[in-house]
Amino acid sequence: MIGYALFFAYGCFGLALLFCLYRVVFAPGLSDRVLALDTMAINMIALLTLFGIDKGTTMYFEASLLFAMVGFISTVAYAKFVLRGDIIE
């Protein structure tokens, strides 16, 4: 049963990544593109966690923690750059 649930979640998050990729490529504005990239990082964290459950290893948690941090920092840096024209003032 856990196998079917894992396959369903894999499909859902893969499809979610494709939606985000569509929004990155065909975005009406700059902020939508930044938001779609942030959502891609969040979906990648979910996919890494699902892969860890599937393989029975805790090795991927460090990777997803790094994804969470890098996604947040890059989004804030990009928004700051758009707002002020500079990241570290």
């Binding site: 939606f19 959502t39 979906n43 979910a46 459950i53 997803s64 923690l65 804030v76 758009v82």
Partner: protein
């Protein structure tokens, strides 16, 4: 067996919410409403998947790890900050301050003002250093 059912339900719920969050990014009409879908729904989906992983490892493999709880807390703390920053960048990119509705009568948006001039928070006159 019970752990397997709980983990399966959490995985299905998490996958559904993650899909809804990213589909809303494509479906919803304008940028401010598009901001709602990933910051709320996708964060909830990832949280459900991480909690499922937190239950699954002690139940199947017999060792408890706290990494998932750390990642969940980090995501739930940073998602509002991310949404706030993107909304602020969008307000400065897409609108002039005259097009926006007033947040309250006689007040301006805090992000368009000088830092010490005007804010949504009502301050007493004596709080400001230069009057």
């Amino acid at each position: 067996m019970i752990a397997e059912i709980v983990v399966s339900v959490l995985l299905v719920v998490g996958g559904f919410f993650g899909l809804v969050g990213s589909y809303g990014l494509v479906k919803l009409p304008d940028p401010m409403t598009r901001l709602h879908a990933p910051t709320k729904s996708a964060t909830l989906g990832v949280g459900a998947v991480l909690i499922a992983s937190l239950i699954w490892f002690p139940a199947r493999h017999g060792h408890l790890t706290w990494h998932e709880l750390l990642i969940t807390l980090f995501l739930f703390l940073t998602a509002p900050v991310t949404g706030y920053f993107i909304a602020k960048a969008h307000m400065h990119l897409g609108w002039s301050r005259d097009e926006l509705p007033r947040p309250s009568p006689g007040k301006d948006w805090a992000t368009f003002c000088d830092p010490d001039k005007e804010s949504l928070v009502d301050r007493r006159a004596g709080d400001r250093p230069n009057g």
